[in-house]
């Protein structure tokens, strides 16, 4: 290679790293944005640390009047004994509201729920309306009765702040699980007794106790998270061995998206120096030196490539060792990085070749690159929404950033190399087209 090509590239590199503006865009902003999410979502650990759900403020109004059927005084001593053997305190068995309260205040839920008992329903509702509390649970007065008495129904009310989704959703899930357990037992008992009645068997108190004890003794999975009926696992193959979980699992796509987005900005900004040098006269001056036009334009392109190489390398390493983000196996990561550098640099060249002067660059950055960049990395925003993911999978591939982002995701997800190569092929095609058109136009302009 002609030494002058390298001289031009290194000169541009030096100028870039002396520009606070360039440094801020290349490194500052992507790291800042990812760092912000790192901090917001509990940033203190690496790959192993889970993403901690925030605690939900739950207040409870217990209007439950209890049930004579299950109150301590109404139980036969033998039955009370057998309740105790089954792990149920006969004294509290009379009030299912209290049982529910004990459950909500148990240690196992202490990390996700902050429970307060409120005697007055009106003030409790006001607390939700004013945002002091996220959710109010109202246990109705006939709750225990509904559990124990056939034909009686009860509905617990969750009164929630409409602006919230996560906390109320968690409370609903927990309470529903508990209620389902009770409902399952009641339905079961009613079915058993109903069947017996149909078969002509007379129903008395001791039979009811027997049936109830039968349910209590049977392995009851209702309302349990440890169901024998299912085995949950993550998907194998396409998404298996995803190296990021927990906090890193959230940050990984974000950092990847920021890296792609800002690489394209850097590519265009670096290529823009062709225009600014033409305006300032240093480019025409270069053309008066004994170097072919091809040498000079190659040097300019090489500078864009080198600047991007530094940027992508720094961001990859920073994310890996500071945020604990796993990018994937070395070879795929290298290929993805090279692909991104190639595509962002040629895209910059392509865009700049259409501009008449550097003033128009503002529209390129502000409009074209921002909008296309957001479309290209929109998968970062749809991680939790499969319905939306289907759309983004297609739409994002309309822009070059989408192809780069896809390769980043595939590498992170340890996808098979064949799948990665398909998208890298797409990256190469885009790059080839951009380079061809961009160089052709620039050569014609400076002929």
């Amino acid at each position: 290679m002609n030494m002058q090509v390298l001289d031009i590239a290194l000169k541009d590199l030096r100028q870039s790293f002396r520009s606070f503006f360039a440094l801020a865009f290349m490194f500052g902003v992507p790291i800042l944005v990812t760092g912000m999410f790192y901090f917001m979502f509990g940033g203190g650990g690496g790959e192993d640390e889970g993403f901690n759900l925030p605690r939900t403020f739950l207040s409870v109004v217990n209007l439950d009047q209890g049930s004579q059927d299950l109150s301590g005084s109404g139980l036969s001593p033998e039955f009370a004994n057998r309740l105790t053997q089954a792990g149920i305190d006969p004294a509290s068995a009379g009030s299912m509201g209290e049982v529910l309260l004990d459950f909500l205040r148990s240690d196992s839920l202490a990390e996700i729920l902050e429970v307060s008992i409120v005697p007055d329903e009106a003030s409790a509702r006001k607390a939700v309306e004013s945002g002091e509390v996220d959710v109010l649970l109202v246990i109705p007065e006939n709750f225990s009765q509904a559990v124990t008495t056939p034909g009686v129904r009860a509905s617990l009310e969750l009164y929630q702040d409409p602006a919230l989704t996560l906390g109320p959703g968690i409370v609903k899930s927990i309470v529903s699980q508990f209620i389902d357990g009770l409902a399952g037992t009641k339905i079961g008992i009613e079915v058993v007794l109903g069947q017996l009645t149909q078969a002509g068997v007379p129903i008395d108190g001791s039979l009811v106790e027997e049936v109830l004890l039968g349910f209590l003794a049977a392995p009851d999975q209702s309302g349990s998270e440890d169901s024998q009926l299912l085995v949950a696992r993550g998907p194998v193959g396409g998404g298996q061995a995803r190296g990021n979980s927990g906090l890193a699992g959230i940050l990984g796509p974000i950092m990847g998206g920021m890296m792609v987005l800002y690489a394209f900005f850097t590519g265009a900004a670096s290529a823009q120096t062709i225009l600014t040098e033409a305006e300032k006269g240093t480019l025409p001056r270069l053309f008066t030196t004994p170097n072919p036009q091809a040498t000079i334009l190659t040097g300019k392109y090489l500078s864009v490539f080198l600047i991007l190489s530094v940027q992508v390398t720094v961001l990859l390493l920073f994310a890996r060792y500071v945020f604990g983000i796993y990018w994937g196996q070395p070879l795929p990561v290298l290929l993805v990085a090279l692909g991104l550098i190639l595509l962002a640099s040629t895209c910059g060249l392509f865009l700049i070749s259409f501009l008449k002067n550097s003033r128009q660059a503002g529209v390129v950055f502000g409009g074209v690159l921002t909008f296309s960049g957001m479309i290209g990395i929109m998968s970062v925003f749809t991680a939790s929404s499969p319905a939306a993911s289907g759309v983004t999978d297609v739409v994002s591939l309309f822009v070059p950033q989408g192809w780069s982002m896809r390769t980043v995701e595939l590498a992170m997800g340890s996808a098979p190399i064949q799948e990665l190569l398909i998208f890298l092929g797409g990256v190469l095609v885009w790059s080839w087209v951009f380079f061809g058109v961009g160089i052709l136009r620039l050569r014609r302009r400076f002929e």
């Binding site: 606070f20 503006f21 801020a24 902003v29 800042l32 944005v33 912000m36 999410f37 917001m40 509990g42 925030p54 309306e129 109010l136 709750f143 509904a146 559990v147 129904r153 009310e157 969750l158 929630q160 702040d161 602006a163 989704t165 996560l166 309470v175 529903s176 209620i179 389902d180 409902a183 399952g184 339905i187 079915v191 069947q195 068997v201 049936v211 349910f215 009851d220 009926l229 299912l230 085995v231 949950a232 998907p235 193959g237 396409g238 998404g239 298996q240 699992g249 503002g362 529209v363 502000g366 409009g367 909008f371 749809t382 939790s384 929404s385 499969p386 319905a387 939306a388 993911s389 289907g390």
Partner: protein
Amino acid sequence: MRAIDLAYNDLLQILRDKQTALFLVIMPVAFTLLFGFLFGGFSARTEEDPRLPIGYLDQDGGAMADQLIRFLEASTAVRPVNLGEGDDPDEMVAQEDLAGAVIFPAGFSAALKGEQPISATVIVEEGTPAGMTALGEIRAGLNRLQSAVRAAQQAVLAYENELAFQDDSSRRRYYDEAFNKAVSAWVDPPLAVETRMARASTQPAQELDNAFAHSSPGMMAQFAIAGLIGAAGVIVQERKQGALSRLLTTSISRGEIILGHFLAMAAMVFTQFALLIVFGQLFLRLDYFSQPWATLAITVAAVLFAASLGLLLGTLAKTEDQVVIFTLVPMFVLSGLGGAWVPLEFTSRTVQTIGHFSPVAWIMDGYKNILLRGAGLTESLLPAGILLGFTALFVVLSVWRFKFE
């Protein structure tokens, strides 16, 4: 009067910059639509089922699997999708085409009735909200199924305690009848949990999951700051090109100069907010006008805050490049911390508190109070007041640091 003339002059310069139209209107509209659409903002209006899709592969063919599917069909959160021969549930979950998938192995139904049930395999990305929801719904369905099985088993046991079955087939019939009764009872269980929203707004309940209620105020706040690049740039150019020095040779006072720049920015941002609010009201079914005074209060306060921030940016920046950096960095930080992208409810209380040091959080609170909580003028006074406090702070800083030389 001279301040108004100066403001008018600033606005002319701002509006002649093509970037301004982009940042002021086009991009906030585009991103509001993008974010809102991606998170189901139109779900209430389309025919499409917005529930999370859960695929199922029935290798069993028995009644139990069928019944679970019926339970899932009745869910408000998920909808079952039958997977065909060529479908790979792992791939589909990994690619996020499905929120989850359940595989019923052969013998599942038969084993469920026995002592040693066979597990169904549930495939989810447990780290994602969609995965968690899918798993929760499948677990709930399976639990209800098992509860019905248990009821049938207990029914048989109770019968055998009192009487005796003639033969196996009558036993099976008794079991099936008990199972079917239990399953039917689950259609309308005796104990239920109902959710009510604490609000007084006119917006119908089904619109409350309108994702635009978050993305609209979020993008308004973010792009109000982004749009300050042009306005702050005018101040910088005025100083650099010597126009400011020239102004000072006229009878306009320094205070009027600052006021003029402030008014220009306020007018620009107010127009932006007005356009986006009308857009939200007409096309996104966001009822900003349900509480017009409250909306006006929040809007005016947000506009004044943004204008004061723009004034400060134009004061501190020495070059056009600095204007861009000094604008974009606060835009990212204030928007991110303030919950413009991801609602603060997903973060810890500490972060939520810290986030409220960002004025954007108060803009979000102000508008979401109106849209989702039906808040009126009284409830809007707090966020509006906080924003005015930020305004005062930034104006004082600007006046203190404004370089007239």
